[in-house]
């Protein structure tokens, strides 16, 4: 028996597998047993009810989709009254995700969400289609610091900061979030993208821009997780392109303590629970007793840097 549990700060997850915000809801309980997941992650909520972006909100690309949903929802009051109880019917910890347009409202919303039934507050400071200072704070370390300071002061709940792959220097932003008191870092949100249809010369999405979601992006996020895990001491959660147990292992080797999964659950609603099963088996076959051993276990301390030596080692 493998111990799949991981600790993200003070929160213990029974396994490192979580859905990704916005790509999941309790509706998935129609297909799989949600009690098996490491955590339940709600769709990002905003203060006021929002319709979201114009349709089409999704289009297929070469290797995945671009999407632009626009954070639709019924607002925070409805969320607390109806959606939190819906998730609380299940056992895994509830991670709520929140977005706001100003640092003040971010803090206020975090405070308002700090209620029983909410275990973790994930702050989505990286909505790709928003301006750097209006919801996409994670594009700059100063904005990150500012918004995270307010958030930290507003709650005693664990706060996880979701960062943006569109930022140029992910490490400085991660460090800013850590210094402001984040309990964990979630890497990453989606890649700002554009698809233009060659049949009618129009953008494929109603919102013009959208976030690219594709298994192909995993190596980019893997690099970010690795870089951030080297510099920060709080846990990192890797999100991007996980479709199988080996992907979870790879993220953990790079330094992640857990993963989030979006696309794979669209393709196969049984993906998340299957990955948990496969992860268990993968560890078992290799005699790994505690999956947490894998965190940061990449073997990169004895790389052969002399090209003349390396290229004599064969294929």
């Amino acid at each position: 028996m493998v111990d799949l549990s991981v600790k993200i700060g003070d929160v213990t997850l029974q396994n490192p597998i979580m859905p990704a915000s916005g790509a999941f809801s309790w509706d998935y309980g129609d297909v799989i047993d949600l009690n098996r997941l490491g955590g339940l992650v709600a769709k990002t909520i905003c203060r006021e009810p929002r319709l979201g972006n114009p349709t089409p909100r999704m289009a297929e690309t070469e290797a995945g989709i671009i999407q632009s949903i626009g954070l639709p929802g019924k607002g925070i009051d409805y969320f607390l009254e109806n959606i939190v109880p819906e998730y609380n019917k299940w056992e895994p910890p509830l991670i709520v995700s929140v977005s706001a347009d100003t640092a003040e409202d971010f803090a206020a919303m975090t405070r308002d969400l700090s209620v029983d039934g909410v275990d973790v507050i994930e702050v989505n400071i990286s909505c790709p289609t928003k301006a750097p200072s209006g919801g996409n704070f994670a594009m700059h370390s100063e904005h990150t610091k500012e918004v995270m300071d307010g958030i930290r002061a507003a709650t005693d709940k664990p706060v996880w900061a979701k960062l943006s792959p569109n930022a140029g220097d992910i490490v400085s932003i991660a460090v800013a979030a850590e210094e402001a008191g984040a309990d964990a870092l979630v890497l990453c949100n989606t890649f700002l993208s554009l698809k233009i249809r060659t049949d009618n010369f129009r953008p494929a999405l109603g919102n013009k821009f959208g976030g690219l979601v594709s298994p192909a992006l995993k190596p980019i996020v893997m690099r970010m997780v690795y870089q951030v895990a080297q510099e920060c001491s709080i846990p990192v959660i890797g999100i991007g392109g996980v479709t199988k147990a080996e992907d979870v292992v790879e993220y953990m080797l790079a330094g992640a303590s857990g993963v989030g999964i979006g696309y794979a659950g669209f393709r196969n609603p049984t993906a998340l629970t299957t990955i948990i099963d496969d992860l268990d088996e993968w560890c078992d076959e290799r005699g790994i007793k505690e999956i947490s051993e894998l965190i940061g276990a990449v073997r990169d301390d004895d790389i052969e840097w002399d090209p003349l030596v390396a290229a004599s080692h064969g294929v």
């Binding site: 999941f24 297909v31 319709l51 999704m58 297929e60 199988k244 393709r267 196969n268 049984t270 993906a271």
Partner: protein, 290 residues
């Protein structure tokens, strides 16, 4: 190294025929169906028949399945394609889909051959419903909309409700589903473009006749904005309730992603609803045409 298979890339535990169902009580499942046949019914439309595990047979009229189509061009078809249940054949434990070959997904679907596996998720969404007191309903559809409407004939038959089905098509050769409707006792009226009988004016006359004859306790439609607009207008004028099945592109199909939004008007206020979970079947008077 053992041989690789597509299963090494994506993780899933779809339920297979004959396997123990780990979640017999859940409303929706990921299933491996097996293609029994997949043939053209005319130039553009195909009918696929698949063997399915038991739970997949719980699908109701108006519900849909979300299909993982194979690739026609080497690149993956990244998202599932929603497809209405055309027929649930509980006796043979089979499902049928009637579909139009359009883009990448349906072209991939058309490549599937007898004996091949086809991963399907469902049943999904809110189907059509029959209300107390409805004795006769009118079903009006065109093209692939008929695939969605066809199971209504079965539902109505089970509830002893009479059905008049108005099937609209370009020409008599492409009128589909006649057998399915007739087989379950529906009164079928064909209207076609070639002789002008499918004109809105003529269809309106037919509908008015049915209303006069007391054959129209409720209206059902799908697939044509022209026909939806007509039925909405007549329904409003004559206070006849109705339902329409709507379409939108989808990702999750389960209600989580908010990709599949369509506009509805409720009590004079416009709002967005999810086709996959709030529908695809909606109160016709609330649907906003396109």
């Amino acid at each position: 190294m053992t041989d690789l298979t597509p299963e090494d890339k994506y993780s899933a535990k779809p339920i297979r025929i004959g396997e123990v169902d780990p979640h017999p009580d859940k409303p929706t499942g990921e299933f491996i169906s097996i293609v029994v046949s997949n043939d053209y019914v005319n130039d553009e439309y195909l009918k696929m028949v698949v063997d399915v595990p038991d739970r997949a047979l719980t699908a109701k009229a108006g519900q849909f399945y979300h299909l993982l189509c194979p690739t026609p061009d080497g690149a993956e078809v990244w998202m599932r394609r929603p497809m209405s249940i055309y027929r649930v054949d509980t006796g043979n434990k089979r499902l049928e889909f009637l579909y139009k070959k359009e883009g990448r997904g349906t072209q991939g679907m058309a490549m599937l051959e007898k004996g091949e596996e086809f991963n399907i998720v469902g049943p999904l969404g809110v189907g059509f419903w029959l209300e107390e007191g409805w004795k006769n309903i009118v079903v009006l559809g065109r093209g692939v909309g008929l695939a969605t409407l066809a199971p209504l004939s079965q539902l109505a038959a089970e509830h002893n409700v009479g059905v008049t089905a108005i099937l609209s098509a370009r020409n008599p050769e492409v009128v589909m589903s006649r057998d399915l409707f007739e087989g379950l006792g529906a009164n079928v009226i064909e209207v076609v473009d070639t002789d002008g009988s499918s004109d809105v004016d003529n269809v309106e006359k037919i509908l008015e006749g049915l209303i006069t004859d007391g054959k129209a306790d409720a209206f059902f439609t799908c697939g044509s904005n022209r026909l939806l607009t007509l039925m909405k207008r007549l329904g409003k004028a004559h206070d006849i309730p109705g339902q329409v099945a709507m379409e939108q592109n989808m990702a999750c199909g389960l209600g989580a992603c908010y990709i599949c939004m369509r506009t509805f008007e409720v009590d004079g206020e416009k709002t967005l609803r999810r086709v996959c979970r709030d529908g695809p079947c909606f109160n016709m008077q609330e649907a906003v045409g396109w």
